[in-house]
């Protein structure tokens, strides 16, 4: 009887690993690698990859550009309602993607909250590439913000204070002390957000549609190709697996290369210590 528990633990692990690895392996086992590469030449696949790359890069630049200073402020100041703001920023993480798409339509759609104002300036967002970018930003940015707040919070406040007393203005303190010391954590969060954005499906299809060559990203193209050409779907799928794997490895390995003092090698680091 005493041996039963260890055996049960082992069995549970085997089940979990097999279940999680099998679908990924299946993609590669179904079609030979050479075939997969050839299928990527398909026009539809190429268009979808291009749309994915463009929108992901633009969205990522926005996430980093706005998210980094916002996270720094949140991490280094205490104000009333801070906890609420932090929770609000995490909401998209738990929101069903379909609801996210619905929300984006309700906010930026033609008859949405800002619809009239956007029409005045001649901007129509839904079913454009801009919509894809917004959808990706909405679902992916919380991953970066979370990690960035944690990374900035883990910088010893005495170091920031020391920099100030040594004559550094706030911008220099940020650039010379806070940023370099948070780089590993920021990198991990950034990679995670990029991966999440690349795989975005639900919010995008609702808010931006799936127009080939315009708003059809790789995940949407996979869904589209399922009925017509399963091999194209598999080829795109395989490519996304490879990219995801590379991103995962980057998160795991980069911190040990940079020998940064922030040991943030897990993707789901706890959000601060409150």
């Amino acid at each position: 009887m005493t041996r039963l528990f260890p055996v049960a633990l082992g069995a549970a692990l085997v089940v979990a690993v097999t279940f999680l690895a099998l679908p990924v392996l299946a993609i590669f086992l179904r079609v030979p690698p050479g075939e997969l590469v050839a299928q990527l030449g398909d026009e539809r696949a190429r268009d979808a990859l291009l749309v994915s790359l463009q929108t992901s890069l633009i969205a990522h630049a926005l996430i980093l550009g706005v998210g980094t200073p916002a996270a720094y402020l949140l991490a280094t100041t205490r104000f009333r309602g801070r906890a609420t703001v932090l929770s609000l920023l995490e909401l998209p993480l738990v929101l069903p993607p379909a609801v996210a798409g619905l929300g984006l339509l309700a906010a930026f759609g033609r008859r949405g909250l800002l619809g009239e104002q956007l029409q005045v300036v001649g901007l129509e967002i839904p079913f454009t590439q801009l919509a894809v970018v917004l959808a990706v930003c909405f679902v992916a940015s919380p991953f970066y913000l979370r990690a960035a707040v944690t990374a900035f919070e883990s910088v010893d406040p005495a170091l920031l204070g020391a920099a100030r007393t040594l004559g550094a203005r706030p911008l220099r303190v940020f650039a010379r002390v806070a940023l370099p010391l948070s780089l590993a954590g920021l990198g991990a969060g950034s990679t995670l957000a990029f991966a999440r954005g690349l795989g975005e499906f639900g919010a995008t299809i609702m808010f931006a549609g799936s127009l080939p060559g315009r708003t059809q990203t790789a995940p949407l193209a996979i869904y589209d190709a399922l009925d017509e050409d399963f091999d194209v779907a598999l080829a795109l799928g395989a490519l996304l697996v490879v990219v995801s794997l590379a991103l995962l490895l980057a998160v795991k390995l980069v911190p040990s290369w940079t020998r940064s003092p922030s040991p943030s090698t897990t993707l789901f680091a706890p959000f601060g210590s409150r």
Partner: protein, 343 residues
């Protein structure tokens, strides 16, 4: 030259920090238990903490005046602050750490603090003493008008501490900057500072030269904090114009100080003599008891006898062949004891 003048009033966890200080070209030590508000005073001067009410000025230059709405940011106050754990930038080497404060004098400072050979090393590879020198060099790189030291010796081991204390004393004497240092160790304060202020619960109980504090502690806390033995009792006039203190623990002691009612009788360990049997000398106070502990501190030995701690030379301890558990007599003169208020 310029004097640093400050008045602060600021609520901390369970008390108000209420401090008024003025310091010229001298070293002033604020000494007190942890949580007394010492570091908050430094942070307020450096501009890292904004007190609820306060005025801080260096000569004619106002750094803070809450009533007038003046509050210079830290980078515009000419201070060099050495943090308790030194707060060296872990991602920068020694040279860059020092240069962060100012580039002009880096080589001179590296040389002066004997860290030139460590210029390319990262802080994590340095010993405690080396880190402290880097922190000092960095704080001085900005050529500050005021130097602030937060527990400058507490991060060091006992051996390094003694060496660094000597070096620091020399440096402070050489710089002659208005220097405020905070520590929880009275000996450090006495060794480094011209004036010592004992601070408890946000208030300065007594401010003066270390010798003054030892000679006339303002109250029981100052007495015990400066290292005195403190015996509680009730004072009444005794024989020969002395004051008799009837101890709570039993027995009587005599002091040349006047006093009545509840008092603390303070006597410093180095005023207490030990003997095998009651000596026929001028001391009127004798305590017979077992040796409870012996602690060797270099060439001195701290001996606990009953309620007292005596400090005698290692040679005397050897001559008396003191061992734990043996009976000895501890004696001190009535003129060596101080009567202090019990707070």
């Amino acid at each position: 030259m310029d004097t640093l003048a400050l008045t602060l009033d600021h609520p901390l966890r369970s008390f108000r920090l209420s401090v008024e200080l003025e310091l010229g070209r001298e070293t002033l030590a604020l000494v007190g238990p942890s949580g007394a508000g010492k570091s908050s005073v430094l942070r307020a001067i450096a501009g890292l903490l904004r007190p609820e009410w306060g005025k801080i000025a260096l000569g004619s230059e106002t750094w803070l005046d809450t009533e007038a709405g003046v509050d210079l940011p830290p980078e515009r106050r000419s201070v060099g602050l050495v943090f308790q754990e030194y707060a060296l930038f872990p991602h920068l080497d020694v040279r860059r750490n020092v240069a962060f404060g100012g580039r002009e004098r880096v080589d001179e400072l590296l040389e002066r603090f004997r860290i030139s050979q460590l210029a390319g090393a990262r802080p994590r590879d340095l010993s405690g003493g080396e880190r402290q020198r880097v922190a000092l060099a960095r704080a001085l790189a900005r050529d500050p008008a005021v130097l602030l030291l937060d527990e400058p010796l507490s991060a060091l081991d006992t051996h390094t501490r003694a060496v660094v204390r000597g070096e620091l004393a020399e440096l402070l004497a050489e710089l002659r900057l208005p220097t405020l240092l905070v520590t929880h160790d009275f000996e450090d304060a006495a060794a480094l500072a011209d004036r010592v202020g004992v601070i408890v619960d946000g208030r300065i109980l007594q401010l003066g030269a270390a010798a003054e504090l030892l000679a006339a502690p303002a109250d029981a806390f100052v007495a015990s904090f400066t290292g005195a033995n403190l015996l509680h009792g009730t004072a009444r006039p005794g024989a020969d114009g002395l004051t008799e203190v009837v101890l709570d623990a039993g027995g009587s002691m005599y002091s040349a100080d006047g006093g009545s009612g509840r008092v603390g009788l303070a006597v410093y360990p180095w005023e207490i003599a030990l003997a095998r049997s009651e000596p026929a000398d001028s001391a009127v106070n004798h305590v017979r008891g077992e040796v409870r502990s012996l602690v060797v501190l270099g060439n001195r030995v701290r001996v606990r006898v009953g309620p007292l701690t005596a400090e005698i030379t290692a040679a005397s301890a050897e001559r008396l062949r003191l061992r734990e558990g043996e009976l000895v007599v501890a004696s001190f003169k009535a003129t060596a004891s101080r009567l202090v208020q019990v707070g």
